[in-house]
Subunit: 269 residues, 2 copies
């Protein structure tokens, strides 16, 4: 280890953990070190830049106090969350496309209060087509303050949720990730969407987001969460009778979406 230089450091680091008991940890760390070093070599990373990078990460975590989860936002902004979600999905799955719940910051929004109501008519079934009765559904519109709406599917696997109309969602404006996006000339916005978390016994929990067909911001989602299969027609109605048997004095929106849950896998590895 006394001859370490730019060309030998990578192998020196990897050799150190050659005897690690956890084979997966060894595999992940070997690849991580190789790619981290390849990045530093490729851009000839200076000491100053490396130090700035570490400070940026430090800033992210410190900004994350209070539940803003800035690191999750960073993972989203760099496309890592979308990548791992896509790889996770590339199995034998047929259900609704999900987004990794742990990687999507729940509250990265400058939330306002919604005025116009939105009615979601959902259906939840398993991959074999059977209706899932009594599944728990949580709905949360983007850009709106307040708790999620929680309800359960009926005997047909259907639910009707009433919430505020989702709004475009700004990443927290004063955080390190928002500042990075600004420096990169990137839009710090997410298009309006509805978060859904659906759970039913014997099935994988589904965390997903439903977007509005035709939304002009679909192509600039700062967190790369939009998927074609997750677009729905959000139909705007004039004031009048609403799907829940009530009446709205404001215009309101309805949308229909069918969710498919995969059966629990025995072993996720």
């Amino acid at each position: 280890m006394r001859h370490i230089d730019e060309d030998t450091i990578t192998q020196a680091v990897i050799a150190r953990h050659g005897a690690a008991g956890d084979a997966r940890l060894r595999e992940v760390m070997t690849s991580l070190v190789q790619h981290l070093h390849a990045f530093a070599r490729e851009v000839r990373l200076s000491e100053d830049e490396c130090a700035r990078g570490l400070r940026f990460i430090d800033d992210c975590v410190r900004a994350g106090g209070g539940g803003r989860r800035e690191l999750a936002l960073l993972s989203g902004a760099l496309g890592l969350s979308a990548l791992v979600a896509a790889m996770e999905r590339r199995g034998a799955q047929v259900g609704t496309e999900g987004t990794a719940s742990v990687l999507w910051p729940a509250d990265a929004a400058a939330a306002g209060t919604g005025a116009e109501p939105c009615f979601v008519r959902g259906r939840v079934r398993s991959a074999d087509g059977g209706a899932l009765v009594g599944a728990q559904v949580q709905v949360r519109p983007s850009g709106i303050a307040g708790p999620a709406v929680t309800l359960h599917t009926d005997a047909d696997g259907a639910f009707l949720a009433r919430c505020a109309l989702a709004q475009p969602q700004a990443l927290v404006g004063d955080g390190p990730v928002a500042r990075l996006l600004e420096a990169l000339g990137r839009a710090p916005w997410r298009p309006a969407h509805l978060h859904f978390t659906i759970e039913a016994p014997g099935h994988e929990p589904l965390h997903t987001q439903v977007f509005r067909q035709g939304d002009p911001q679909l192509d600039s989602d700062a967190l790369f969460g939009v998927r074609r299969s997750l677009l729905a027609d959000w139909v705007r109605h004039a004031p009048g009778p609403t799907p829940d048997g009530g009446h709205s004095e404001l215009p309101f929106t309805t949308l229909d979406f069918a969710f498919v849950l995969n059966a629990t896998r025995g072993d996720k590895t």
Copy 2:
């Protein structure tokens, strides 16, 4: 952006910052995203593993409260600090090998108190061979609690520093990085060394570390800081007269080292 999958996400992310005003930032982030994604693809990183990785980084920063600078320790343990220091050096430098001050945690030690004294006879000159008179020298032995010794070179560019004998240094034992090293089967130790920071007008500050020739731990430095050019003979003496004209009732150590500072560069890029 509605067709994003495992194969298209990387280009989608990079395309977003194509118009960034800062060309260097664009270059660095492009490379970073490519290598980050290549790593995730290579190991088929799962969502759970990605979330664990983010939590680990979060833990590092939170553990870093109180100046332990756990992220700098992580950068050292993964060999990134050594790599950028080596690249920084691959210029037209002839001076003493340095170690990136900002990247080396100053206090990642379970520090004890030293009993045996150590005398460092140093010489400081510029790359053209001239003695540097009045240069400020700070010396700090590893594994020893207390402030650095600060002094200045004399009319011959020489100094004599008395400090406690440096001890092997353990990375902070309860921190995330120490736990990672343990999981990787890696030794969480640094061999005994002396930190030097030397500053003289018109010269680049030198941050470096001097190790003990023959130390059995030279090949297992957890932070990859050992360099052949930074080894010195640490000579142990029986109790008796010391180089500063005094007397030691304990055995004591002497070492000689010549430092060469590079002239200030006009532009570090």
